[in-house]
Symmetry: C2
Subunit: 342 residues, 2 copies
């Protein structure tokens, strides 16, 4: 049984999204037990129509406070000590859950999980990562996506180690190919941090492919793309924005005249399949790597469908042994780095 603690209060929608998504996930996934954290009466109300089998695999864990989307990190961390976020992270800390998930305030979720769970030895900062579909039926794991705006070469190396461990665990790839995001014009071969990171990656035991350019995120060049959080966040949002624009443009084109509308009706199944493939809800669920426990962050605006994918991500991470693999990979690297220094 894989046990996932869910902050049911977080996100733009809270209970009406998180609890139905949890119920649906339980129905799909017999090997899961869910710990629903939040206000018991609210959760109970949403569970009213859940099938008996599901009821048997969910428990309600009370939490009296809620971290709001605009709460400063200090408030979330210091003043709301019985928040649903804090309780969910504590369940992992105490070994009652294998993973925790929230759609709430990102900064608060990162600060709370870091405070409660602590960092792995050898990792300085947690990193947010997501899986971006490539054009070859697979996906590219990109990190960091916004947890760290200023990074040293050492941080980028740590991201590479954690990203590699994630892909090994979740996608069963033995030695994931790692690329370092860089610019491609001849003038400039990247800034100093990137150059130094490339050297460190080359000297590491990772399967380092070399530099990659922005377009290679969507090709099957590498399994893991490493970048600082500023670049990662901007790229992720830019590509989401473009995908949305293209979907809208296609819809508009088909609505232009009666003839194109007729063509659109015939093309509907095809366009639906396409839309499904690029539907960013399917890629919801960013793993927060580097902590002593599996932590997943859902988009705040996630609906039940998207939240279900984030649950799936948490489940897969636990099933694949993400925590053990990351800890082992990090320990090996730290040891190696120490040996090199001596």
């Amino acid at each position: 049984m894989i046990r996932i603690a869910i902050d049911c209060m977080g996100g733009d929608h809270g209970l009406p999204v998180t609890v139905p998504a949890a119920v649906a996930f339980c129905e799909r996934q017999p090997g899961v037990r869910l710990l629903l954290v939040g206000r018991p009466d609210g959760i109970e109300a949403q569970l009213a129509s859940a099938p008996a089998d599901v009821r048997g695999r969910v428990s309600i864990v009370p939490a009296s406070e809620v971290v709001e989307m605009d709460d400063p990190v200090e408030v979330a961390l210091r003043r709301k000590k019985d928040s649903s976020m804090r309780v969910a992270a504590t369940l992992v800390k105490e070994g009652q859950a294998d993973a925790c998930l929230s759609a709430g305030n990102t900064g608060a979720w990162m600060a709370i999980t870091r405070y409660v769970l602590k960092m792995l030895d050898g990792i300085d900062r947690p990193a947010l990562t997501a899986s971006i579909p490539n054009g070859h039926g697979g996906a590219t794991t990109v990190l960091d996506l916004g947890a760290n705006v200023d990074c040293t070469a050492e941080h980028l190396l740590q991201f590479a180690i954690m990203g590699s461990a994630l892909v090994s665990a979740v996608e069963q790839v033995e030695r994931p190919r790692v690329g370092l995001l860089n610019v491609g014009e001849e003038v400039i071969k990247g800034n100093d941090v990137v150059k130094e990171a490339a050297e460190m990656l080359r000297a590491s035991t990772l399967n380092f492919h070399g530099n990659v350019e922005g377009n290679e995120i969507f090709q099957d060049t590498v399994d893991v793309v490493v970048c600082d959080g500023f670049v990662g966040n901007v790229v992720l949002k830019a590509t989401e924005g473009l995908a949305r624009m293209i979907s809208t443009m296609i819809r508009q084109e088909f609505r232009r005249t009666p003839l194109t509308m007729a063509a659109g009706v015939l093309a509907t199944p095809v366009l639906n399949r396409f839309r499904e493939q690029v539907d960013s809800r399917r890629y919801n669920g960013a793993a927060l790597l580097g902590l002593r426990g599996v932590v997943v962050k859902s988009h705040g605006s996630a609906d039940a469908y998207a939240f279900g994918w984030a649950l799936q991500r948490a489940y897969d991470a636990v099933a694949g042994g993400l925590q053990e693999r990351t800890a082992l990979a990090v320990a090996q690297l730290t040891k190696r780095a120490e040996e090199t220094r001596q």
Copy 2:
């Protein structure tokens, strides 16, 4: 008459692309005179079938050397003093042309135009800029796209001034809205450089909208998006890669079964219109801002259609008075900045 000097030797294809594109552009645009720079016999051969009217508006300017795509900047600048790039830039310098265009080695083109034309007073570094289509029929001007990987806040401010001047000139927008590319997660409000740049932009006379996130490049939030060259380059390439992937996916989806192929035939005109709208060739032609002259860079891989768009960009920049506007805007800012310091 607007006079454009073209490095006919540059790019992956050279003469067979640049000269036919120049001829076609001349036919479309009666108000243009083109100076074709390169090996005279090669250019002449490509001009063989050009109509008499066009022949009357093109002149061949000989250049005995060619900067290769993999030439180091030093070689291009110091050893090839009669390169087609150098001659094209010199024509602008000497007032014989109003703009110059090359599809060659980006680093060499930047170094040569900077050396020959010099920077505007008050601008430290040239910036590469391009126009990215938004979902509202317009476009967003983004800079820098790779000329500068490490930027100070002052550089970002200069990019904003130059980008504003470009949009005013080419798109006739009186006070272009300027956005500063930043991350959106609550944890982090950007790195120190971006925070400082935001303050400087707020204090400037520019129409500063504030921070924007990656997805807003594709919305009609602002006219100009400012970022450092590392981020800009990665975002540009990532979005080009995604657009290509989506086009391929749609094609594949329509080829799946006989039924979807039939739907695809009916949908062809719609899909072609869509493909045309997202065709990156239409957005070819990056202006290199900050120099004492209009300089445009075409993609190295441009075909004649794409190269024609770069020519159009050079033409529009001259017609809109880009050079005068940029020089004026920069001079005003420099004056204002000096007054503030006193």
